[in-house]
Structure formats: structure tokens, C-alpha cells
């Protein structure tokens, strides 16, 4: 009974938006296959060792000849481990080109998304085929299902690591270097990406959402993001500008064009505030504006606790309205 409960609980933790064992991409499914093969290999070795232990302590307790003991050492200590390790190593190395696919002559033909890991959020820039900027967003990645996408990975500050367990990865983002990882989503859905390399006090609060959508929906999303819509509440924008938020944040279609912090274009459509830290509600956005350092220790955003009563809420409502 307890065993069944344990199995159910362990298996239920294998699915979800951030599980390498519930793959939704080609690369992640290879990783999952590798995991299961290694698990089976490890399980067989464990059974062999425990079986030998039982044999030695229960049934075969009489002394063995030195000759047969030598044979056990030769086979179980040398030949079998060397063969098993060679087989597992060959299998893993054989799988590697599938997990980190590369094309001869570069991956120029792929759609490129440049992702920059910053303390502690993700700058996401969609690029045209020639490398020029289509638009910039933050902490959200949209990918088309069934199309391989090349992520161009950078970092301006410390080492981060880009990992979407459901799709594949991970790949480090190293200051002064440009790394690449190509991923292909096979199942539409919402997934979660994380920073997988300790990068500072808010490392654990550095996540992003990944939406895998079909090709038509993806094109619609690109078009809507490029269009840039005027805001519903000019009063909120006026407060946003008056309190200097535009020094760091950009909103397409307004004069706000700061580049230090995350772009807030279409912020209302995002699922969270603070790179996956809080749900995207007016109250939580206002709280983040007032006390960013309490919510995200080490964040570069200064505290706006001194804003007059109601201003943070008005700005939050304005941001929530941006689509």
C-alpha cells in the first residue's frame, strides 16, 4: 500500500511544465531516453551486485578455491565492468549529435532568438534572418512547434545557464562568449525555463515562460508584437515617465526606451512579474515597484517605496493593460 503510494507520488512528479522526464521537444526526448537507458543499466548492475551479496551470505557460504575467486575478480572486476562501461559510453556518445544537433556549414537557415542572461532576468531578442533586431521582450519565449529554433546565448555580467528541461539544453551563457543551442518543440504547451548556473542571490528567482504554439499562431504573435499598440491609460504612462521608469525600461510606441532593465512592451500578456517570481497581478506589480530588493534580493532595480499613495498601483494597472 505504502509502496504503491510512493510509486504514484514519484511518478506524478515526473510530469509538469519543467520536467526533463516529460519531454515536449526532440532534444529533451533524447535526454529522457538516455536517462531511462542509464537507469535500466544501473538497475541491472545493482541487481547483480545485490544478487552476488545474497549468494555470498546465504547460499554460497562455503570457502571457494583461490582459482574460482580469481576468475570472479577477472570477470566481475575487469571484463564485465569494462564492457558495460564501454557500451554505455558508446551509447551516450552516439546519442550526443541528436541532443546537440549541428548542421554542416553552420545553422544560418534557422530562426534565431538571442537570449541574454542578466542578473536576474532574461533579455529575449527576436532576430531577422540577416541578424537585425525584429523586437525585444523579456522573460518569455515563444517558439513554433515543429520548427528548429537557434538560441544565441549571451551574458553581460556573470555565468548563467539556459535550460528548458521540457525542450532540451542546458547551455551556459558565458560573458565574452556566444554559445548556441538549437531546440525543436514537438508538443504545443506552456513550459518553464530556468537559470541552471548559480548567478547571485536571486538565482532561484530567474525563470522564464516558454510557449510552444503552432506555426500560424506563432506568426500572429510575431506580427502583434511588432505592431506595438498605444496604451489604454495615458495617465499611467505619464506617471511611468515622471517617476523615471523609462531610464531603464522600454515600452514600444512610447518615448520610454531604456535598455538597462527588461522591456515592458506587452507586459500585461506575461504570466509573471520579476522573471517568474510573482503572478502578474496589479497588486504584485505595485509591490514589486515599491520593494524590488525585498522580493528579489540583489536586483538592480532601485526601490520606489517613496512613490505617493496610489502611484505605484496606477503604474501597475497601466502596465497590466499593455498587450
Amino acid at each position: 500500500m505504502l509502496g504503491a503510494l510512493f510509486v504514484c507520488l514519484s511518478l506524478s512528479s515526473c510530469s509538469g511544465v519543467q520536467s526533463a522526464l516529460d519531454p515536449a521537444g526532440l532534444e529533451a526526448s533524447k535526454v529522457a531516453t538516455l536517462f531511462y537507458v542509464m537507469l535500466a543499466g544501473g538497475g541491472l548492475i545493482w541487481l547483480g551486485v545485490v544478487g552476488a551479496l545474497f549468494y555470498a551470505t546465504r547460499t554460497g557460504r562455503e570457502p571457494h578455491s583461490e582459482r574460482s575467486a580469481g576468475r570472479v575478480i577477472l570477470w566481475c572486476g575487469v571484463i564485465v565492468p569494462v564492457t558495460v562501461l564501454a557500451a554505455l559510453l558508446s551509447y551516450a556518445v552516439w546519442l550526443m549529435p541528436n541532443m546537440r544537433p549541428w548542421a554542416p556549414g553552420g545553422e544560418g537557415g534557422l530562426r534565431r532568438i538571442e537570449v541574454t542572461g542578466e542578473q536576474f532576468w532574461w533579455r529575449v531578442r527576436y532576430l531577422r534572418a540577416d541578424g537585425s533586431l525584429l523586437f525585444e521582450t523579456a522573460n518569455e519565449v515563444f517558439v513554433p512547434v515543429g520548427e528548429r529554433v537557434l538560441f544565441v546565448l549571451k551574458s553581460p555580467d556573470v555565468i548563467h545557464s539556459f535550460w528548458i528541461p521540457s525542450l532540451g539544453g542546458k547551455m551556459d551563457m558565458i560573458p565574452g562568449r556566444i554559445n548556441h543551442v538549437a531546440l525543436e518543440a514537438t508538443k504545443p504547451g506552456t513550459y518553464r525555463g530556468v537559470c541552471a548556473e548559480f548567478c547571485g542571490p536571486s538565482h532561484a528567482l530567474m525563470a522564464f515562460s516558454v510557449e510552444a504554439v503552432d506555426a500560424a499562431e506563432f506568426e500572429d504573435w510575431i506580427a502583434s508584437r511588432r505592431a506595438g499598440r498605444p496604451a489604454a491609460d495615458p495617465g499611467g504612462l505619464e506617471l511611468f515617465l515622471r517617476h523615471g521608469c523609462d531610464a531603464c525600461h522600454a515600452i514600444a510606441g512610447t518615448t520610454a526606451d531604456g535598455t538597462i532593465g527588461p522591456s515592458l512592451t506587452a507586459f500585461g500578456a506575461r504570466g509573471s512579474v520579476g522573471a517568474g517570481t510573482l503572478p502578474n497581478t496589479v497588486e504584485d506589480v505595485a509591490r514589486f515597484i515599491r520593494y524590488p530588493d525585498e522580493i528579489k534580493p540583489g536586483s538592480r532595480m532601485p526601490s520606489f517605496g517613496m512613490l505617493p499613495e496610489g502611484d505605484a498601483e496606477r503604474i501597475a494597472a497601466y502596465l497590466k493593460g499593455l498587450r
Binding site: A86, L89, S90, V93, M96, P97, R100, W102, A103
Partner: protein
Amino acid sequence: MRSILPREIESLWTLFTAPVVWALHFIVCYVVVAIYCEKAGVWEIDFNSIRIGLGLLTLAALGMIVLSAYLAWRQWGFGSGDPPHDRPTDHDRRLFQGFATLLLSGLSFVAVVYVAIPLIFIAGCQQ
């Protein structure tokens, strides 16, 4: 075969021959592939040529290790006595050293093979 081999050159230094061959093979494989992939656009060499070259190097390394193992086997008296060779005599010390060298050669042989396995499966540089 035995006649062209030198007589009893074994010393404490020959104990390290096989691991040194393994270390050199390891470093050459890694450095050559790393530099090749960095200069992939500059050098006009096919990656398969690199793989074949390193494959030949692997065969040479394995040959040297086998030679080292043969000398060690000879030093061990071709298995005439059983370990542990723990008596305080010159004869036992020589056999012990030969046996240790033989085991190290076996380890180095397997290690060189493992280092070379990726050459079979990795057919290009990651861009």
C-alpha cells in the same frame, strides 16, 4: 621478436610508460580537436582527416602500451609466480614491479580506447 627487444631495461621509469602514453594521447586528442573546431573556417582540412589521424595516433598509442605490457609480462616472469610477491628479496621486488606495470598497462589500454570512442561517433564540430 624476443631477440630484438632489449634485455631487462625495466626500471621504476618503465612503470610509468603506459600511463604517460595514455596522458599524451588524451591531451593530443583534446587539443587537436579543440583547435581544429576553433579554426574550422581557416584550415582547409576535412574533419574526417582529423579523425583518421587521431585514429592512427590511437593505434600507435595502443601499440606502445602493448609493448610496455609485454616487457612488464617478461619482467613478471611470464606469470611464473603468483602474487603478492611480498618477500624482501630482489627477485620478489622485480616480480612485484613487473606485475604492477602489467596492471597499469591494462588500465591505460582501456583508458586510451575510451578516449578514442568519441572519434567514432562525433562527426563534426558544433557550430
